[in-house]
Each structure stands twice: as C-alpha cells, then as structure tokens.
C-alpha cells in the first residue's frame, strides 16, 4: 500500500473541524458489484452468530461459512479480510488505503464491521446517535461507510451532523434531535466512501425508494500515535499558532478551517468547539503550542503565572 496517496493538510484540517471526509465514487464498479453479493451474506453470517450465541449455542456449534467469516476484534486490517474479498479489495483501493494510513496509521486493527441494510419502504427514522459509548482523550477511531450502489435523495442515505464529533455525549442520548440546521442525508454515486470520526452523530434514514439500501461499515482502531501521518509537506508554513480572528488572520492557514462554524452551533459553543479542535490538532501535529484565536494560549500563560 506504499503507493497510496496520503491525505493533504486541508483534508486533515477538514476532518478535525467537521468529523468526516467524503470520497465520491472512489471504489471501482467491479468491487461494488462484489460487495452487493457479499455484504448481505456477511450480514446473515452475523445474524447466525448472534442468534446462535444468544440462543445458548456454543460458538463452535455455529455453521460458519469460511468464505464469509467475521474477523475477530483486534485483527490487523491487512490480515482481517482476504485480499480478493469485497472488504479486502475496498480497503486496498489506493485513495482509501492512503486515507486510512493518514488517520489511524498503516496497520490499524479491525474493531468490527457491520452491514446495514435499509429495506425499500422502511420509513423508520433511527434516532440520532454516536457509535459505541462516550469516549475520552484526543485519540480516535475511524469508521468507513461504504455505499456500493447509487443512493438517491430520500432513499435511505445515512443522516449525519457535521461538526458533532467532539461533543461529549453517550450513544443515543441525542436521539431527541429530529432536525438540526446543516445536517446532511447521504446521497451519491456507487462506490462512495465516507470516513467518520468515531464521535460523529448519525442515524439510519427512511428509505422511500424501491430498492434496498446496502451499506458496509468498518470501524478501525489506531495502534500508533496518530501524529503527522498524512502528507505534511506543507504543514509547517500553515500551522501558525498566532492567527487571530480579531488581530492578524490569514486565509490558507490551518486555523481558518478549524474556526469554521456549523449552522447548528450556538455562538458560545462555537468558540468552545474551536478549542476542542485545537486540542485535537495539537495531538495530531505533536505541537503543544498550536492554537486558534489564542483561547488556549492566554489561559495557559495565566495558569503559569499563578504557578510561579
């Protein structure tokens, strides 16, 4: 995967600010077609596993088809899926491999995958949620959302809320939010992959269409510090800590992306979101003095005065 193109600083800054990246029609059609064969079978394999275990059967009693075996959590990605399988081919597409390497390193491990099938005519709107539980610290997992067929508007494309990934909430405690300004419902071409920060709020959406919507989701854990893993050739020139919206402000600096607001942000929280993003950017760059609009710097300096 060494020829995989790494993410740019702009893409990384956008991921930190908004919590996702989008790669339209990046997966070739033959792999998408393979996915439409394999993903529903992977879903049924999980269903058998789940029913078997919850029904009291020992795991060894489960009739598992080796061809569609589920990887165990913690398996290194490049060993988790056969290279000629749909998931195995998808993660080896250079653009995707490069994005994975940039965000979670070259050898992340598989947390789990899941195949989400939104049946045609299923009008249930899942409650907004983030996956797993409430997480701490700046290190993060990524989740790949792979749509192997065209998804038209209102045909079950995932609902998502840009900029929600750094809010500390647990699972579906945000499910009462039915409509938020600036939220998106995925629609796009076959082979589109979205890569989410683990904390991004999302939900399954009603499918008003006439075909089942299939989506493969893959969660990956980093196994190395996520520091400067992308193409950082232009980083140093754009990483100033003294860019300030009420003083000197330059377009093109990382700060200009990290202070981006979202339509659903309260003005007071927008500044706190900037602080959260700056903290995450410090982790990703290994630069403990990075800042946007001086929020961290001024308080850290004052704290230093008190300590003296």
């Amino acid at each position: 995967m060494s020829d995989a193109p790494l993410l740019t600083t702009d893409q990384m800054a956008s991921f930190v600010a908004r919590g996702f990246l989008r790669f339209d029609a990046v997966i070739p059609d033959d792999i998408n077609q393979q996915a439409l064969e394999e993903l529903p079978r992977l879903f049924r394999t999980w269903l058998d596993e789940f029913r078997g275990v919850t029904g009291g059967a020992a795991p060894t009693d489960i009739d598992t088809n080796d061809e569609y075996q589920l990887p165990r959590s913690g398996t290194v990605l490049h060993r988790a899926y056969a290279p000629d399988s749909a998931f195995g081919r998808m993660v080896r597409v250079p653009t995707i491999a490069g994005a994975i390497a940039s965000l979670v390193g070259a050898d992340p491990v598989v947390d789990h995958h899941f195949v989400h099938i939104k049946v045609a005519g299923d009008l249930h709107a899942q409650g907004l949620h983030c996956d797993a539980i409430i997480d701490q610290g700046p290190a993060f997992d990524i989740q790949l959302f792979w749509f192997p067929h065209d998804v038209a508007p209102r045909e079950g494309g995932t609902r998502m809320v840009p900029g929600s990934h750094l809010r500390r909430v647990n699972m579906d405690d945000v499910s009462r939010y039915q409509h938020l300004a600036g939220e998106q419902y995925f629609a796009g071409d076959a082979g589109t992959v979205l890569i989410f920060h683990q904390g991004l709020w999302h939900a399954g959406a009603p499918n008003h269409g006439t075909r089942d919507r299939v989506m493969g989701k893959l969660r990956l854990n980093p196994m190395q510090p996520q520091v400067r893993l992308w193409d950082t050739s232009d980083l140093d020139a754009r990483n100033r800590a003294d860019d300030h919206m009420f003083a000197r402000m330059e377009p093109g600096l990382v700060a200009s992306e990290l202070r981006r607001s979202e339509p659903w942000f309260e003005p007071s929280n927008t500044r706190l979101e900037t602080v959260q993003r700056s903290t995450l950017w410090r982790y990703l760059t290994g630069d403990p003095e990075f800042d946007v609009d001086w929020y961290l710097t001024r308080t850290e300096r004052r704290a230093g005065l008190v300590a003296k």
Binding site: L166, R167, R168, V169, D173, V174, R176, Y177, Q178, H179, L180, A181, P263, W264, F265, E266, P267, S268, N269, L272, E273, V275, Q276
Partner: protein
C-alpha cells in the same frame, strides 16, 4: 421542541423536533424549521412549558461541549372532530 442559539427566547432556531399527540390528525409543521425564533412559536399559539436552566459548567469541564444548551419545550392543545 426548539433548540435556540442563545438562552433568550427571541434567538434563532438551530434545531427542532415535533412529537404529535394527535397521530397525524392535528396540524403538522409546515416549514423547516417551523418557526424562526421561539417567540414566533408563542405568537402562533404555542405555550412554553419549559426552558433549559442556566447551569454553571462543571469545574474542570468548562470547555467541553455536549448537548445543545438552549432547549425550549412547547405544547399546543387542538380540538379534533
């Protein structure tokens, strides 16, 4: 329910939800969002039941963000045939 940009009722609507006690027989929201501010909902006949209290941040967590802060709950009673 409305989530507003600030603690004041005349600030902008950032998000909304509608829980229909008439199972579709009563009036439905006509726009997204149905009102531009909380005050507009009052003008249209909704009664405010609750607003988020202003709670000081938890020490040590002053800079964390979580739920939308400014939540307002309204109800309206309608007669059905």
């Amino acid at each position: 329910m409305l989530w507003l940009a600030s603690p004041t009722l005349d600030s902008r609507v950032l998000g909304w939800s509608f829980f229909d006690g008439t199972s579709g027989a009563g009036p439905q929201p006509q726009a997204d969002p149905p009102y531009g501010t909380g005050v507009e909902a009052l003008v249209d006949g909704w009664r405010m039941l609750q607003m988020s209290p202003l709670i000081p941040p938890v020490p040590g967590h002053e800079r964390e963000t979580s739920f939308l802060k400014h939540e307002f709950v309204f109800e309206r009673l309608v007669e059905l045939d």
